[in-house]
C-alpha cells in the first residue's frame, strides 16, 4: 500500500469562521495505480491533492504514506517528502522563464545531494524521453504549451518520485497537446509510476483506471474504470 487515508479532514479557519473543506475522506491507493480525483470546483479535490502531496497538513484523520503516519510532519519534514517522494505537474506549467529548459528540469535536484554532473545527465535523459532533447537550452517562453508541459513532466520525474501529482495537466492545452500529455502519463503508468490526476474534466479523468469522485468534501464515488463501464452499460440497457 502506497497511500492510505482514513477519515481525513481539513477545515479552513478565517476570522473564527470554520469552513470544513474535507469532511472525512477514506481511501487507499496502491503502488502503480493511475487514479483520477474528479469533482467540480470547490469540491475539495485540490485540497485533497495538497494534503496527499505534502503541501498541506490535514486537520484531522490519518494519512499513511508507505506505511508511515505522515499527518503530523513539520514543515521541513514535509519539504523533505516533497523532495524525495513526489513529482508535480501543474496546470500553468510553472517553469522559470529566465532559466533554460535543462535548468528547469534540474531544479528539484537543487534541494538534494545529487552531484551537479549527474543532474544534467539525468535531466537530458528525461528530456529525451519526452521528445525535447533538441530544446535543452531554450527559454521556456519560446516553447509551445504542449512542449512546456512535457518539460514539466520531465521535471516531475527527475527525483524518481513514488507518485506523480498532475493538477489539471491539460487545462491550458489544446486538445492535441492535451492528448499527447495524457499519452505520456499513460506511458509512465505503464512503466509502473503511480499517478494521481486531479481534474474537473470527465474526458481527462477517464484516462485513469480508477476514478474518485468528490463533492462538497466527501467522496461520492470510487470505482475502477471496469466498474464504471459496467454501470454505464447497465444504464444503457
Amino acid at each position: 500500500m502506497l497511500i492510505s487515508i482514513k477519515n481525513l479532514k481539513k477545515d479552513f479557519v478565517n476570522e473564527d469562521v470554520v469552513t470544513p473543506v474535507l469532511k472525512g475522506v477514506t481511501f487507499d491507493i496502491n503502488k502503480g495505480e493511475f487514479v483520477s480525483i474528479m469533482g467540480p470546483s470547490g469540491s475539495g479535490k485540490s485540497t485533497l491533492m495538497h494534503i496527499l502531496s505534502f503541501m498541506d497538513k490535514p486537520t484531522g484523520g490519518v494519512y499513511e504514506f508507505e506505511g508511515d503516519d505522515v499527518s503530523k510532519l513539520d514543515d521541513d519534514q514535509l519539504a523533505e517528502m516533497r523532495s524525495k517522494k513526489v513529482g508535480f505537474i501543474f496546470q500553468s506549467f510553472n517553469l522559470l522563464n529566465r532559466s533554460t529548459v535543462l535548468e528547469n528540469v534540474m531544479l528539484p535536484l537543487s534541494y538534494t545531494n545529487i552531484p551537479v554532473e549527474e543532474r544534467s545527465v539525468k535531466a537530458k535523459k528525461l528530456l529525451d524521453q519526452v521528445g525535447l532533447s533538441h530544446r535543452l537550452n531554450y527559454s521556456p517562453n519560446k516553447l509551445s504549451g504542449g512542449e512546456k508541459q512535457r518539460v514539466a513532466i520531465a521535471r516531475a520525474l527527475i527525483n524518481d518520485p513514488e507518485v506523480i501529482f498532475a493538477d489539471e495537466p491539460t487545462g491550458n492545452l489544446d486538445s492535441k497537446s492535451g492528448a499527447q500529455v495524457m499519452k505520456i502519463l499513460q506511458g509512465l503508468n505503464d512503466e509502473g509510476h503511480t499517478i494521481i490526476l486531479v481534474t474537473h474534466e470527465k474526458s481527462t479523468a477517464e484516462h485513469a483506471e480508477r476514478m474518485i469522485k468528490i463533492k462538497d468534501g466527501s467522496i461520492i464515488e470510487d470505482c475502477k474504470v471496469s466498474c464504471r463501464q459496467r454501470a454505464e452499460d447497465d444504464l444503457a440497457k
Binding site: 523533505e80 510553472n94 531544479l107
Partner: protein, 412 residues
C-alpha cells in the same frame, strides 16, 4: 540550492534589471567609495605629517614658552605671545652637564616683504643660532651657514631657503647679494638645499638670520619663540626632558610643575598626539560616510522585498519541489549579499580611481603625497558590503521563506 546557483541567479537578476540594479546599488557604491576615500586620505595626510616630523628628526625636544597640559596644545600655538623664554635659558641648558643633549638651537620668528629689483616676496624669517644646522639636519647648497661669532655679534648675514633663493634670484647667484629685511641690509652668505614637499614649515621658503640680529635689530625683543634640543638617542629623551625642566624651573624660580611658564615636549609626543587627532578625525568622517551605507542597505532591503513579491510564484514552485524554508532564506540572503558585494567591489574601484585623482591633484600642488590604498580598506569594503547584504537581506529572505507554497503557486 547551492551557493553558486544562488550567486548565478542574483547575477541574472542584476543583469535583467540593469537600471533598477544600478540605482539600488548606488547607495552602497557611494558609501563604500566614501569610506574608503576618507580612510585612505586620512592615512595619506597622517603619512605626510609624520614624514614632516621625521624629516626634522624623531630625537628632538621642543621647549615652548607658557604652560601647557601634557599632549594639549601649547599656548603659543593659539597665537598668544609669551615672553618667558630667554636666550640665557638655552645657554643654561646646553651648558648643563646632561651629556645626552648633543645640540640646541633657539628661534625667534618674524616676517617681512622682501624687495629685490622689481620683485616683492613676502617671507618669514627666523632668527636662530649657529647650531641650527646640527639640530635640524639642514644641508647647505651654496655658501655657508653663519658662525657663533656672527650669531652673537649682530651680524647682518642671511641664509636663504632653496625656493625663496630661486624666486628672488632666478638667473643669478645669490651669494654675496644684499637684500633688505625691515629696512636693514643683509648679505646673503648661504642657500639651503631644497627639501621639497611638506605641509608645515619647510625651510625652502624661509630666511635665516643670526638670533641676536633678529632680536635686537629686526624685532626689538629679548624673548624666544622656541628652543629645540637634539638628544643622542631616543631612549634618553625622557631623562633629557626632565633635566631641561629642572634647569628651567630653577632659572624661572618655579616650585611646582603646575606653575611652569614653559612646556617641554618631544617629537615622539607630537607624533602620538597628532596621530590620535588624525585618527579621531578619520574615524569621525568615516562614520559619517558610513551613514550612506546604511541608507544603501535600506535600498537593498526595499529591492529584495520587491524581488520576493515578483518571484512569489517561483518561491512557491521551489517549495513544492522540495525547498525547505532554510533553503529559501539561504537563496535570498546570498542574492542580497551578491548584490551588495558587487556594489562594494564597484565602490572600491570608484574609490581607488578618485583617490588616484586626488593624489594627482595634491602632487600637482607640490606636496609629497603618497597614493595609499590600504589592503585593509579593500578588505573592510568587501566585508562591510557583504555584511550589509546579510543584515538588510534577512527580512526579505525570511518573508520569502514563510510564504505558503499553495498560496504562492496561485499568486498572479
Amino acid at each position: 540550492m547551492d551557493f553558486f546557483e544562488s550567486v548565478q541567479t542574483s547575477w541574472q537578476m542584476i543583469v535583467r534589471n540593469k537600471m533598477r540594479s544600478l540605482l539600488t546599488m548606488l547607495g552602497i557604491i557611494i558609501g563604500v567609495a566614501a569610506v574608503m576615500i576618507v580612510l585612505s586620505v586620512g592615512e595619506s595626510v597622517q603619512a605626510l605629517i609624520m614624514n614632516e616630523i621625521k624629516s626634522v628628526g624623531t630625537n628632538l625636544i621642543g621647549v615652548l614658552p607658557g604652560y601647557a597640559e601634557e599632549n594639549g596644545p601649547p599656548a603659543s600655538a593659539m597665537g598668544i605671545v609669551i615672553t618667558t623664554l630667554k636666550y640665557e635659558d638655552g645657554e643654561a641648558i646646553i651648558n648643563s652637564n646632561n651629556s645626552h643633549i648633543e645640540a640646541l638651537s633657539m628661534y625667534v620668528k618674524g616676517s617681512d616683504v622682501i624687495t629685490v629689483e622689481d620683485k616683492n616676496i613676502s617671507a618669514s624669517f627666523y632668527g636662530t643660532t649657529a647650531s641650527y644646522i646640527d639640530v635640524e639636519n639642514a644641508e647647505i647648497e651654496k655658501g655657508r651657514f653663519f658662525t657663533k661669532d656672527e650669531e652673537i655679534g649682530n651680524a647682518r648675514v642671511v641664509v636663504l631657503g632653496g625656493k625663496i633663493a630661486e624666486d628672488l634670484f632666478p638667473d643669478q647667484d645669490p651669494l654675496g647679494k644684499k637684500i633688505k629685511i625691515k629696512k636693514t641690509n643683509f648679505t646673503i652668505i648661504g642657500v639651503f638645499k631644497k627639501k621639497g614637499g611638506g605641509l608645515m614649515q619647510t625651510q625652502d621658503n624661509d630666511m635665516y638670520v643670526p638670533i641676536k640680529t633678529a632680536q635686537n635689530i629686526l624685532l626689538g625683543i629679548n624673548h624666544l619663540s622656541f628652543i629645540r634640543a637634539k638628544v643622542d638617542k631616543i631612549e634618553n629623551i625622557d631623562s633629557a626632558m626632565e633635566d631641561i625642566k629642572i634647569i628651567l624651573r630653577d632659572r624661572h624660580k618655579v616650585d611646582t610643575p603646575s606653575e611652569d611658564d614653559f612646556n617641554v615636549r618631544s617629537t615622539q609626543q607630537a607624533i602620538t598626539s597628532i596621530s590620535s587627532i588624525t585618527d579621531a578625525l578619520k574615524f569621525f568622517l568615516a562614520a559619517i560616510a558610513a551613514i550612506s551605507l546604511i541608507v544603501g542597505g535600506f535600498g537593498i532591503m526595499n529591492i529584495m522585498l520587491a524581488t520576493v513579491q515578483e518571484r512569489t510564484k517561483e518561491i512557491g514552485l521551489r517549495k513544492a519541489v522540495g525547498a525547505k524554508n532554510s533553503s529559501i532564506v539561504f537563496q535570498f540572503l546570498i542574492e542580497a549579499m551578491t548584490i551588495t558585494f558587487i556594489s562594494g567591489v564597484i565602490g572600491i574601484i570608484v574609490g581607488s580611481l578618485l583617490l588616484f585623482l586626488i593624489a594627482q591633484v595634491v602632487i600637482a600642488y607640490g606636496l609629497s603625497w603618497s597614493f595609499i590604498i590600504s589592503p585593509s580598506s579593500i578588505f573592510l569594503g568587501c566585508l562591510v558590503s557583504i555584511s550589509i547584504g546579510l543584515i538588510f537581506g534577512i527580512v526579505p529572505a525570511r518573508r520569502a521563506s514563510l510564504l505558503d507554497p499553495i498560496e504562492a503557486l496561485r499568486y498572479e
